[in-house]
């Protein structure tokens, strides 16, 4: 394999591993604030119990997000120097604003949020929780601004092959930002909803009858049931926006080769780039035309429109985009079905007690479904951006570093091993925490003798005698 494909796999591996954790912390931060505010308002210990359990999951996810994020910040330079050399004048300030307005905020107040409950007044602890949640969302905003700009660039001019900003407002609020931002925030909310429901279902299944679990299970189910229809709507609008700005991506998502009307919605197909057609096609007639153009004979652009004179395709590789899209939509449909059925059971039959065991098992199985859908969605949009790095401005091939392929292959192998181990450890730790919480164990320790509020109250027996 050459260095380009290796660098792409390495970047994909790093960013796929990284995004798992922000996807959890973005929404979990707000959920924790909700728990804390409910506790402040009602004084009900169950909300604080929920807070205490989930703040540990938050801390763990945050830690993994930080270390994998530091890796990301170096990848630009080590593997893709052409990116910053070409569009650094635009990407630079956006990344700088992310660091300045988000990273420091999250990192500094995280310490207070995690360990400061007994050290600071209640209002400051609640404020710290708010600022951490706010920081993670700010971080998502800035990085999605940059990402959206890479898909729908505007507000710049090229001088000697380097992009120079002309209109920052146009750069920040580029056409795909609103859709992408909403879609990602909702994805984070859904990921957390199913994580809450799944882990709580697990605790119920192993016999945990503490009242805090009932609350988090209900929170998870209702959050999922409310967000999923919004997400389907947002996803549909995002797709229409993509059709306008990156028609070749939508053509690949639909597996549509020729520009025509009455394009079917394919349920199954094996796109074949050799013959430039699909094998084993099964579809709903005119389905894609109806979704994208809202009429049966609506004309949908085809992949054949995006081929250079010499025959090199200028569209993304079709199969990965086609299938990632189907995995995302399929997971979303499953989420709709399960969260609505669970919510209906809770609503009609009353308490969590009445949820049947098989449903709890299904919810447990869906614990990390948000990750599957989020990754599949990102693969759809990012592979769908190929062969461009920044759409129409710089290609992926032009930006790759001149580093020996063996270096890239070596570090890639090491990353994959480390990430696999960490992912197993992460999932095992979450369920381990759940088992310990179910047994009623806590991890609090008593303060040490002779020290109050961090100040020495008795003379130090080991002091060097004064001369």
């Amino acid at each position: 394999m050459d260095e380009l494909i290796l660098s792409r796999i390495q970047f994909a591996a790093n960013i796929s591993f990284h995004i798992l954790f922000p996807t959890i912390t973005i929404a979990l931060g707000w959920v924790l604030l909700f728990f804390k505010l409910r506790f402040n308002r009602t004084g009900d210990e169950r909300w604080m119990a929920a807070y205490r359990f989930w703040v540990k999951v938050f801390a763990l996810s945050f830690g993994l997000g930080v270390v994998s994020g530091i890796t990301m910040s170096f990848q630009f330079g080590t593997n893709w120097p052409g990116f910053m050399e070409t569009v650094g004048n635009i990407a630079g300030p956006l990344l700088a604003y992310e660091i300045l307005t988000a990273f420091f905020l999250e990192a500094a107040f995280l310490g207070i949020m995690l360990f400061g409950f007994r050290r600071v007044p209640g209002w400051l602890h609640t404020t710290a929780t708010f600022l951490v949640a706010f920081g993670t969302s700010m971080s998502a905003f800035w990085i999605l601004v940059l990402n959206s700009w890479m898909h729908t660039p505007q507000g710049f001019e090229m001088i000697d092959g380097v992009a120079h900003a002309t209109d920052w407002w146009a750069i920040i609020f580029n056409p795909s930002l609103p859709y992408r931002l909403v879609h990602m925030m909702l994805a984070s909310g859904l990921t957390v909803a199913f994580l809450l429901a799944g882990v709580s279902a697990y605790r119920r299944l192993i016999g945990d009858r503490t009242p805090g679990v009932r609350l988090t299970l209900k929170t998870g189910v209702w959050l999922g049931a409310i967000l999923i229809p919004l997400q389907i709507l947002a996803g549909d609008m995002h797709g229409l926006n993509t059709l306008e700005h990156q028609p070749q991506k939508v053509a690949a998502m639909e597996g549509n080769w020729q520009t025509r009307g009455n394009v079917p919605l394919l349920l199954f197909a094996l796109p074949n780039e050799e013959t430039r057609s699909n094998d084993f096609e099964i579809g709903i007639p005119s389905g894609a035309s109806l979704i994208l153009k809202h009429k049966a004979d609506g004309v949908v652009p085809g992949l054949d429109d995006f081929v250079a004179e010499d025959g090199t395709p200028l569209h993304p590789p079709v199969s990965p985009v086609f299938w990632s899209f189907r995995v995302m939509v399929g997971t979303g449909m499953l989420m709709l079905l399960i969260s609505w059925y669970s919510a209906w059971r809770l609503w009609r039959r009353g308490g969590v007690e009445t949820l049947p065991k098989p449903l709890l098992v299904v919810l447990l199985g869906m614990t990390f479904s948000g990750w599957v859908a989020t990754l599949a969605g990102w693969y759809t949009t990012e592979i769908g951006r190929q062969p461009w790095l920044v759409h129409g401005v710089v290609s992926t091939k032009e930006a790759v570093a001149d580093v020996p392929a063996s270096y890239v292959a070596g570090t890639l192998t090491a990353y994959l091993v480390v990430y696999a181990v960490l992912l197993i450890a992460y999932i095992a730790t979450i369920f381990g925490l759940a088992r310990r919480a179910a047994k009623g164990e806590t991890v609090a320790d008593a303060p040490r003798a002779g020290i109050v509020g961090g100040k020495r109250t008795t003379p130090n027996p080991n002091a060097v005698p004064a001369e």
Binding site: F74, G92, G116, A401, L433
Partner: protein, 338 residues
């Protein structure tokens, strides 16, 4: 003054070089002490390890953010240099990142594992990760000083700086522990700090002697008149600080533990002086002898927009970082989420 502040094209690169330098310095001091604590971990008993890690638990995350800011500033202000430096340092950067991953996750995992064996494994990961990060940072510093060339000579020098920086981190880590702990662990910290100080003296001497010998440009910058006379206070002050450190370490811990912060404070000043010496040697280059900050800088309109944000936000960042240090001041206690 050399026309620095005549036009944005000359002013902005200097301002950004200063900002980047400041964040590297803050990073080296802040993450220096927590990496140093990681390097010292194997020399402590199991219960002491908990306390050592508790002393840095609320801070490490924010400390590492200064690295992201420094590398971010290099990326945004000097994009050409960023690519050049990082592709040359590809492998040591990878080692550092693996180190930072291993130690970063260990903070979380070690506190949440149910078994002692699991905890020991994550302690091991914390140590190895801290060591990898410290050594690779020292190695990169050495190669950078040598103008990013890889010959037997420069690699040998880089290995020396790898050991020295790791020693320096262990030393500032020991002075941090001396300030944040008590009883037996505090006594151990004093001993570690004394040993570390010997290492610091050897390291400072070694690097100061080797740098001018291998680079003519840096030799000329330091040992020609009148620069030599202006610069003389820097090494003299450093020597004074080292003597003061030694004296303070001999008298600590004191009966009421009022002065335990002295060695850490002195070490911060010492690191700052070392950093100024370094910065002086390199100015105006961002890639030694190859690319100046002026050649590498981004377009002024992009730098201005970052600078505007930085002027507003940096003071706020400093204020709330200080707030975190104030809230968790005094001796470290066991960390709990309650």
């Amino acid at each position: 003054m050399l026309g620095f502040f005549d036009t944005p094209e000359t002013t902005l690169p200097v301002i950004f070089a200063l900002l980047m330098g400041a964040s590297i310095l803050v990073y080296v001091i802040l993450d220096g002490f927590d990496l140093g604590v990681g390097v010292l971990i194997p020399f402590a008993e199991d219960t002491e390890k908990d306390r050592m890690i508790a002393s840095i638990g609320p801070f490490w995350d924010a400390n590492e953010t200064w690295l992201v800011l420094a590398i971010g500033l290099l990326l945004v202000a000097f994009p050409a240099a960023h690519g050049m430096i990082l592709t040359t340092l590809y492998l040591p950067v990878a080692v550092m990142l693996f180190g930072l991953i291993l130690r970063g996750v260990a903070f979380e995992f070690r506190g949440k594992t149910a078994t002692m064996r699991g905890k020991r494994q994550w302690n091991g990961s914390f140590f190895i990760g801290s060591l990898m990060a410290s050594l690779s940072q020292g190695y990169m510093l050495g190669l950078y000083v040598m103008g990013l060339e890889t010959t037997t000579m420069t690699i040998a020098f880089a290995m020396l700086t790898a050991l020295c920086l790791t020693g320096a981190y262990a030393f500032i880590g020991a002075t941090w522990l001396l300030m944040k702990t008590e009883d037996v662990l505090q006594l151990k910290s004093v001993r570690w700090a004394k040993l570390g100080l010997v290492g610091i003296i050897l390291g400072f001497a070694g690097i100061s002697a080797a740098t001018p010998l291998v680079s003519d440009r840096i030799f000329d910058k330091w040992f020609s008149l009148p620069e030599f006379a202006f610069l003389l206070p820097l090494p003299l002050l450093s020597m004074g600080l080292i003597v003061a450190l030694w004296v303070s370490l001999r008298h600590l811990p004191d009966a009421v533990d009022r002065w335990c912060w002295i060695p850490f404070a002195l070490t911060c000043v010492l690191f700052t002086l070392g950093f100024f010496g370094m910065a002086y040697s390199f100015y105006p280059y961002v890639v030694p002898d190859q690319m100046t900050i002026y050649e590498a800088a981004s377009a002024p309109e992009s730098l201005v927009i970052i600078l505007a944000g930085a002027c507003v936000v940096l003071p706020i960042i400093i204020a709330y970082s200080a707030l975190a240090f104030i809230i968790f001041r005094g001796k470290a206690t066991d960390l709990s989420y309650d």
